[in-house]
């Protein structure tokens, strides 16, 4: 009996031990992954050179990938010893904060960020600056208090005006239009929408055009697709849609191209040539606009370099060398403009690959 009892005790003990072992094994697996990833980080940091980290709004977004591609080229050309890209999987307001914190801890010299929320990232960026990092905002600005410079693709107003101009041409200057944007809080989209609304109200050429709805696809393909579908059901007289986001315009184009609205409801906005090519070729979309996103990342990397070297401080009138793109000047409020937007149509779309 005693033997029997000891056996039980042992078995239960063993069971617990095995559970512990199983959990420990999973943890070790994770830890192994960590260690492997980390070796690279320390290897480069040890050289004592400048490091740069890009924090986009979210990872795995085709537009962001092009921007980041340009950023990496710029960082290499600019002479950064280490280039990293980290970021959240979903573009929510607070999701970027822990990534900024990790970079602060890593002692990164330049943090390049596209803010999901201009204020939520503020305190974390202040801490990073206190630790010696230079902050470059790109694509979507933070509150100006929290960054050194903001790299803007284009003058916001130009982007707004080219979109409304393209759409006005496509719908013949009158009728109901709608806007399908990214998230409701997206800084840049909201700024463009504001300019579009002002232009519609003030420019007599657009007097016959009425903006009937603004909907948000949250830069999510499925949601944007459904919002596009909903728009056309809710507004049967809709003549055109402006989608100032690459995810939104691609999803809307996909919906239009498979519906009987194809060719009758106009669509324009900001899109990636590679994603929009089939819709331009099949007649769903006549023309849309965008800048070269790679240049945005490229200039951001050079601005970061100039800040880290102390060449510029981000004050108005500072100029810095942006590699192949020549010189760029810091304007009012620390804003650096990359270049004018390009219009893509059936004639020129094959010349671009991004």
């Amino acid at each position: 009996m005693t033997m029997q009892f000891i056996r039980h005790t042992k078995t239960r003990g063993t069971r617990r031990f095995l559970t512990l072992a199983a959990v420990a094994a999973s943890v070790a697996l994770v830890a192994g992954g960590c260690a492997a990833g980390n070796d690279a980080g320390t290897g480069t940091a040890a050289e004592g050179d400048l490091s740069i980290t890009f924090i986009p709004k979210q990872l795995n977004n085709p537009y962001t990938d092009v921007v980041l591609g340009g950023g990496k080229d710029g960082a290499t050309a600019g002479g950064f010893a280490a280039t990293e890209v980290v970021g959240p999987l979903e573009a929510s307001a607070s999701s970027q904060v822990s990534f900024i914190n990790a970079e602060t801890q890593a002692g990164t010299s330049v943090i390049v960020i596209a803010a999901n929320d201009p204020d939520a990232v503020g305190p974390a960026l202040e801490e990073a600056r206190a630790a010696g990092a230079k902050i470059v905002a790109f694509d979507s600005d933070t509150n100006p208090d929290y960054r050194d410079v903001f790299i803007s693709q284009v003058v916001a107003k130009d982007v707004a005006l080219i979109q409304i101009k393209l759409l006005a041409e496509q719908i013949g200057g009158s009728g109901e239009i709608a806007i399908l944007s990214a998230t409701a809080n997206a800084t840049n989209q909201n700024e463009w929408i504001k300019f579009i609304e002002e232009e519609l109200a003030s420019n007599p050429e657009y007097a016959e055009i009425s903006l009937v709805a603004k909907v948000y696809g949250d830069d999510d393909d499925t949601k944007s697709f459904q919002e596009a579908q909903g728009l056309l059901q809710a507004y049967p007289n809709l003549k055109g849609i402006i989608s100032p986001t690459t995810v939104g315009i691609a999803a809307t184009a996909r919906y239009l191209s498979t519906s009987n609205y194809k060719g009758t409801v106009a669509l324009t906005g900001l899109g990636l040539p590679n994603e929009m090519r089939p819709f331009v070729k099949d007649g769903t979309v006549t023309a849309f606009a965008l800048w070269d996103p790679a240049q945005l990342g490229y200039v951001a990397a050079f601005a970061g370099k100039a800040l880290a070297n102390g060449t510029i401080t981000g004050a108005e009138g500072d100029t810095f060398d942006a590699g192949d793109l020549g010189k760029r000047e810091v304007g009012a409020d620390g804003i650096v403009i990359v270049g004018p937007p390009t219009t893509f149509n059936a004639d020129n779309i094959d010349d671009y690959d991004f």
Partner: protein, 375 residues
Amino acid sequence: MSNPPTELLPTATNKSGTRSAGAPTARGRTGIARILLGRDTVIIYALVVFIIYAALFIPRFASPVSTGFLLLDVIPALLIALPMTLIIITGEIDLSVASIAGLTSALMGVLWAAGLDIGLVLIVSLLAGVLAGAFNGLLVAVLGLPSLAVTIGTLALFRGLALVVIGDNAVANFPPPLTSFFTSKLGGTGIPTVMIGVVLVAIIFGVVLHLTPFGRGLFALGYSKEAAIFVGIKVVRAKFWLYVASGSVSALAGIYWTLRYSSARSDNASGLELTVIAAVLLGGVSIFGGKGSIPGAIAGVLLIGTINFTLRLGRISDVVLIIVTGTLLIASVVAPSIIDGITKWLHTRRHRRTLPQASASGATRATASGVQEGK
């Protein structure tokens, strides 16, 4: 830490039924041994092992800065995990917690923007959480509707209300002394000041669950609602107050979230409910109810939090992060079942082998079921 006494019953009778009543070691483990080898304790070991590992091998991990950033990140999940543990122990669930936090955040933003005193804003926001919890409690406890269905409904409802309240706007201009208090640290330790409050809340929930008759009642409730009613546990009242507690703590998490990020928005804390439930289950709380502990749940939250933190420190993509969290959760749920299965198989096999001796020594009763199966 202590497990409910009921857990002892099946094993005690099955495995050592012949032991005389006078033998207190009937199950083989009491007191410290039982605490040291409990299922929830295993996750605490895992946490300690992982922290030691990270401190030794992950560059930059071993510093007060880590403690600060890590704790600031996990506080919302840590808070909500406390009432969630109690609710899951009673065999129910609350999926609306993150939405309540979002609603609180939205409300805070609107009230503050409207010019109310910040103290009043905090009180009203907290009350909103209490009401939201009471609404859940009314539907689940009083009307007896299934908590899964009810809280999926309120998950959408409260998030929707948050959008109605604040719309597409974000409010960011909270008083700087308050927001900096929420990210301030205790001296050079790196421990955020708000942790004092979190620890207090944790102690309250720990004491209620493990050291009061009410807490015992919750375990009993998780095992069998009918039996709990028969022994005089006020089931409706207990569940109702648990949902109120859950709503209130979620509101606290929402307030923290808003002030920590200085941003009141309708989408704050979205998806947090799943992180919390995953961490609580990892911490040894049984989704079927009746089992679990506050220290285990806290360890679960901290383990997931620490792993996330080290992966970010190592700049490993979030894709790896969610895969790891998922795998860990599945491993923690599946491993005990597999081990149970193996143990049972070994047990049966051993009894078959030892059958002659067992009968000879008159232990037939002890292994009655095993013997019959053997024949």
